[in-house]
């Protein structure tokens, strides 16, 4: 008896769903829905907040210009607060209830990995704004990402070290997902690049002072440089504590240093810090002939005028993600997920904020080493590092 009821209820639900879909199809002018999961609040809000602002700005502009192929694009935004559990339930909502064309985000690698399989199973396009290699390696047919890979950042750091004649280093990282992923890459790639890690310490991401760990490194014989892999506030604290201890060795930071606010927080202690990043932060230094110049300058101007705050590379990753989806949608002609997916894989020479994207069935990041530039801090501003 109970089963019959359930069955009946199920059939009704199915029926009503078909009905609504038909109505939508008939309406034609329905907006195309794109989902976004960002950690607008919480510990990863330094990523999610500029990402959300960027995507809103992008959508407003796109719709003001008439949308895509004559149809408006609507954003369904979810704030995960940096929690992988929430990211999973929001992803399910976007897939099952909202039936969006594609999901952009999440902001962090941990969240992305939690929903990678889910999106793949449901044939939902996911364009992540997180950096970890594992998101696109192994490749999942429906999963893409826009930031440069961790391994590319590490390659840049190690090559710069070798140029400077530094071979023995200390690694310090925070005990969160970002720090752990960076630490792993640094350890794995060191032998091949001829770099020796003499000290390797992990600290609490909420640490208030790191002089003890740095004292340990200072007491380790032969260390020529320090690599720190963490986010705020620790990445500013490391810089300050090093200088307070009178340590003159070069400090390398991850590509997570890409916001001018962090430089302000570390003050003069940030001078000379080296880190790989996209060119967004040094757009003024680029020659006019550079393929990214026009796009970067426009994004920076729009963002800073709209939100009265400095642009960051993180917002840029969201810009690239929405750009990839909308561009592929234009080429696919209609919001058919399989077609849009194929279109993303065939995007070549697409200029974004992180670099020039060339996707392929085996490369779902589409960026090569040239998308990074080694930057340094000079007089409180970012500048391209020159030997």
């Amino acid at each position: 008896m109970k089963k019959t009821y359930l069955l009946a209820a199920g059939i009704c639900a199915l029926g009503s769903q078909c009905l609504t879909q038909n109505i939508h199809a008939a309406a034609g002018g329905e907006p195309i829905k794109i989902g976004a999961i960002f950690s607008v609040t919480g510990p990863a809000s330094f990523l999610g907040a500029p990402e959300e602002k960027t995507v809103r700005m992008f959508m407003d502009k796109l719709n003001a210009a008439g949308g895509i192929n004559g149809r408006r694009v609507a954003l369904v935004l979810k704030d995960s607060g940096g929690s992988p559990e929430k990211a999973v339930s929001f992803a399910k909502q976007l897939i099952e209830e909202e039936k969006v064309l594609a999901i952009i985000g999440p902001s962090t690698s941990g969240e992305t990995m939690q929903i990678k399989a889910l999106c793949e199973e449901n044939e939902m396009i996911l364009v992540s704004c997180a950096a970890a290699e594992v998101i696109v390696n192994p490749v999942a047919r429906y999963v893409f990402k826009t930031p440069q890979k961790d391994s590319q950042a590490v390659t840049w750091i190690y090559r710069t070290m070798k140029d400077k004649g530094l071979r023995k280093i200390a690694v310090v990282s925070s005990n969160d997902g970002f720090g752990a992923a960076g630490k792993k890459q640094l350890e794995e790639m060191a032998p091949a690049e001829g770099i020796e890690i003499l000290a390797n310490e992990v600290y609490d991401k909420q640490a208030t002072d790191l002089t003890d760990i740095l004292t340990k490194i200072k007491g380790t014989r032969g260390v020529q440089a320090i690599v720190n892999w963490s986010i705020v506030p620790a990445q500013s604290i490391v810089a300050k504590n090093m200088r307070q201890l009178g340590m003159e060795m070069p400090l390398f930071q991850s590509h997570g240093f890409g916001n001018r606010k962090y430089v302000e927080q570390a003050g003069v202690a940030a001078e000379g810090t080296l880190f790989p990043a996209g060119r967004l932060l040094v757009v003024d230094e680029l020659p006019d002939s550079h393929p990214q110049k026009a796009l970067l300058a426009a994004y920076k101007k729009d963002y800073e005028e709209t939100y009265k705050e400095d642009v960051s590379t993180f917002g840029g990753h969201a810009y690239d993600a929405i750009l990839v989806v909308t561009e592929a949608l234009k080429r696919a002609g209609r919001p058919d997920r399989a077609r849009v997916r194929d279109a993303i894989e065939n995007l070549k020479g697409l200029v974004g904020t992180a670099g020039v994207f060339n996707f392929s069935p085996t490369d779902h990041t589409g960026l090569d080493l040239t998308s990074f530039e080694m930057l340094t801090v000079k007089d409180g501003k970012f500048a391209i590092y020159r030997k």
Binding site: T41, G42, P43, S45, F46, A49, N175, E201, V202, Y203, D204, Q206, T208, D209, T211, D212, I213, T215, K216, K218, G219, V232, P233, S236, I237, A239, K240, R243, Q244, L245, G246, K261, Y262, Q265, A266, G267, V268, A269
Partner: protein
């Protein structure tokens, strides 16, 4: 660097951290002594103090901004007591403690909406990010001395207040024997409000002096509250001086742990020792059963 100086450097680094825990722990103590409640929102007072001061410092000179932050956060403390704890007097201490955890989350969210998720900080009171004081080959930031001086001033003022002034004595009387105090004409409810206000003020001042070192953001309160709580427990609840010593001990212990073990183990060491202390001396090093040392000061 000579190895002897390395040891000293670890010690100074421990003092740096310890001074931060100590200044948070004092606030814990005061509310506990006066009301018996462990206020887990104490870390949020620290955060609010820093946030308000950073905001004010954009418009007024630094000392005025600090004073403003202390006054504003003290008022917030009083308001919280009047809005929540005054109405809930009949509930058990455990309920009140859980309410403070709830308050701490609410205050965090309010800070997130009033300000934003960004990290900010006050300028160093003397010197800048890279200035240090050299001491036998080891270095310490001048800001740490500011923190230690603040701790010292707070402890002395608290001592004078609790022992020699009428409101201070009334506060102690109210907590050691509420009914007798009431018969003597003390308004217990107002004394509790005063205790919350004072704790909030101390927390806010702490938030200001540590801001250049730790930086201020809306989520900084909870981890500080946990370490400050540990410091207060190790020292012995109910005694401001014990809280300070407890804080410094926790800090130095952390630094010592880092010097011998991988840095990731420092929290494990601290809390292992905390447990040991609680086994051997359940009331902390300088505490008395029931945390009555302030009450019988």
């Amino acid at each position: 660097m000579e190895s002897g100086n390395l040891e000293l450097q670890y010690f100074l680094s421990g003092i740096t951290k310890g001074s931060i825990y100590a200044v948070v722990a004092i606030g814990f103590n005061l509310i506990y002594s006066a009301t018996g409640v462990l206020n887990f929102a104490q870390g949020e007072f620290v955060m609010l103090g820093g946030m308000v001061a950073v905001t004010l410092a954009r418009f007024v000179p630094l000392p005025v901004a600090l004073a403003g932050a202390v006054v504003i956060v003290a008022l917030v403390g009083c308001l919280l007591e009047i809005l929540f704890f005054r109405r809930l007097q009949r509930h058990s201490i455990l309920h009140l403690v859980i309410i403070t955890i709830g308050l701490s989350i609410v205050l965090q969210e309010i800070a997130l909406h009033l300000w934003d998720e960004k990290v900010r900080s006050l300028p160093y009171f003397t010197g800048n990010e890279i200035s240090t004081l050299k001491f036998l080959g080891a270095a310490i930031s001048p800001q740490v001395l500011w923190v230690l001086a603040t701790v010292a001033v707070i402890v002395v003022l608290l001592h004078i207040f609790l022992k020699y002034t009428l409101p201070g004595r009334a506060m102690r009387a109210g907590s050691s024997n509420p009914s007798a105090a009431m018969l003597a004409g003390i308004n217990i409810a107002n004394m509790r409000t005063l205790a919350f206000g004072l704790s909030a003020a101390i927390g806010a001042l702490a938030g200001c002096v540590i801001s250049p070192i730790t930086m201020t953001h809306y989520e900084m309160g909870a981890p500080l509250a946990i370490k400050g709580f540990a410091a207060a427990i190790v020292g012995g609840l109910g005694n401001p001086m014990a809280a300070v010593l407890g804080g410094l001990m926790v800090g130095v212990l952390e630094a010592y742990s880092v010097s011998r073990l991988p840095a990731a183990y420092s929290d494990v060491t601290v809390f292992a020792v905390l447990l040991l202390v609680l086994f051997v001396r359940p009331h902390g090093f300088w505490g008395r059963p029931g945390g009555e040392s302030v009450r019988e000061h």
